[in-house]
């Protein structure tokens, strides 16, 4: 073999610059960044650093992979040697080791890929139909009387939700519509539970929930029948399916999506018993204050009226009048007494004069009073012979008759 010339124009590299160059080539190639690579796991190790190292291989080749701690913590399953998976990530070079490798950010078991394709297809279809439109979403009531729950009667999800509801709003009534939440029988059972619950119990809000699980476990909540039943529910639906990172089509169709069953129960009870208690205390204060201010206003009104009354009070005038009256009365009394004395004196004089003029006094001196037909006879012309007369003397009286003509 011919030796290359020692002083030709071939490019010259150091190992470092060459490796860096290769790395830049890989990283600049979009077809090697953000890709899915399918293979079987081998040589898996997970040291205390938390990072995961493994090799993906198939019948023809192998690929070194690393997954950093942060991404590894979000895995929903435990990768093991021999497991067929798809790894998502970007190709790069570990310069010190001189190794190209896949920097993986997500792993999924083989098969999930196909499910995910189906998920995307159905999502696009239902989205186009408008089932996920924000305008369709109904508000959930602030203070529900009756809360419907559609979930498995035996799952931890139900226990979590009941505990949460008991703690937050024990005033509420819960109607459970038990249903299997995974497996082939789950979708029609969930649909039936939603319909029966609405028809029989007419709840104010419905929690459709399931605890965490693999994507296959949650698949019933991606079923088209379930999605449509959610949009057709008379009561608004809050979903709480799986964990925070799980999004199902039922979540998109729901009026409200909660990351977990517990969170769904929280969203269904935006007003808690503690809120109600503090509202009650507040309205109790308003009741007292409202009443107090009316009483206070009445009191002020009375004080004001009282002041005016005093200002225009007749008391003073009454007192003045009273005094005048007393004065008058005293004067009247005095005048009256004087008048009485005068009258008494006059009476005495009259009495004396009467006594002096009394015919009885004349009779006492030997005179007589003669009357004819009850009239005093004072003249001879008043009588004729035969007339009957009446004679009154000092000590008695008698009848007499005229005997001559006079």
């Amino acid at each position: 073999m011919e030796q290359p010339a020692l002083f030709d124009a071939s490019p010259r590299w150091t190992v470092t610059t060459l490796t860096r160059h290769l790395r830049q080539l890989l990283e600049a190639d979009d077809s090697l960044q953000g890709v899915w690579v399918e293979g079987e796991i081998s040589n898996l190790s997970r040291p205390s650093s938390g990072h995961i190292y493994f090799t993906l291989k198939d019948s023809g080749a192998s690929l070194r992979c690393v997954m950093w701690k942060g991404e590894a913590a979000r895995l929903r399953f435990a990768p093991q040697d021999g497991m067929a998976i798809e790894a998502h990530g970007s190709l790069g070079i570990y310069e010190i080791g001189g190794q190209y490798q896949l920097y993986a950010d997500a792993l999924r078991p083989v098969g999930e890929g196909a499910l995910y394709q189906e998920f995307l297809r159905l999502k696009a279809l239902l989205e186009a139909e408008g089932l996920f439109d924000t305008a369709r979403k109904r508000p959930v009531p602030e203070l529900p009387h009756r809360i419907g729950i559609v979930t498995s009667p035996t799952g931890a999800a139900l226990r979590d939700m009941l505990n949460t509801l008991l703690r937050r709003l024990p005033l509420a009534e819960v109607i459970l519509a038990p249903t299997p939440v995974q497996g082939d029988e789950a979708p029609p059972a969930i649909v039936a539970a939603l319909r029966t619950l609405n028809r029989v119990a007419a709840p104010d809000v419905i929690l459709l929930a399931r605890g965490g699980g693999s994507i296959e476990d949650l698949w019933a909540f991606n079923d088209e029948r379930v999605v449509r039943a959610v949009t057709e529910s008379a009561a608004p639906v809050i979903t709480g399916v799986g964990h925070e990172t799980d999004f199902t089509l039922a979540d998109f169709a729901a009026d409200l999506r909660a990351p977990t069953p517990t969170a769904a129960a929280e969203m269904a009870t935006p007003v808690t018993v503690a809120d109600l208690q503090s509202n009650l205390a507040e309205i109790g204060r308003m009741l007292v204050n409202g009443t107090m201010s009316i009483v206070q206003r009445q009191r002020e009104m009375m004080t004001w009226l009282d002041g005016r009354l005093r200002l225009f009070s007749p008391t003073r005038r009454l007192q003045t009048e009273q005094q005048r009256l007393d004065e008058l009365s005293r004067r009247v009394n005095a005048a009256q007494a004087h008048r009485l004395e005068l009258a008494a004196a006059r009476l005495k004089g009259l009495e004396n004069r009467l006594t002096a003029l009394s015919p009885l006094a004349v009779l006492a001196r030997g005179y007589a009073v003669i009357t004819k037909d009850k009239k005093v006879v004072a003249s001879k012309s008043q009588v004729r012979g035969g007339d009957a007369l009446h004679v009154r003397l000092r000590d008695g009286e008698f009848d007499a008759r005229v005997t001559g003509d006079g």
Binding site: R159, L166, L171, A172, V174, L176, M286, V295
Partner: protein, 78 residues
Amino acid sequence: MTKNEPKPIEQLTYEEAYAELENIVAALESGEQSLDDALSHFERGQLLTRRCAELLDKAELKVRKLAGEALESFEASE
């Protein structure tokens, strides 16, 4: 205002009692009430407040489950 024939306090639900309480407070705050009305409203309001507090204190989540078309009791431990 439910002045004639108010429902007995002990039969009111929380919502009913609270709604009446709100009406009473609104009426009081309008300030257009006679002293007599205000005081009788205050007394009823006090009773309603007590009723609400009692209902909150005693509330226990009632859970039933669908069994076919019917509702039956459900024990959470079931």
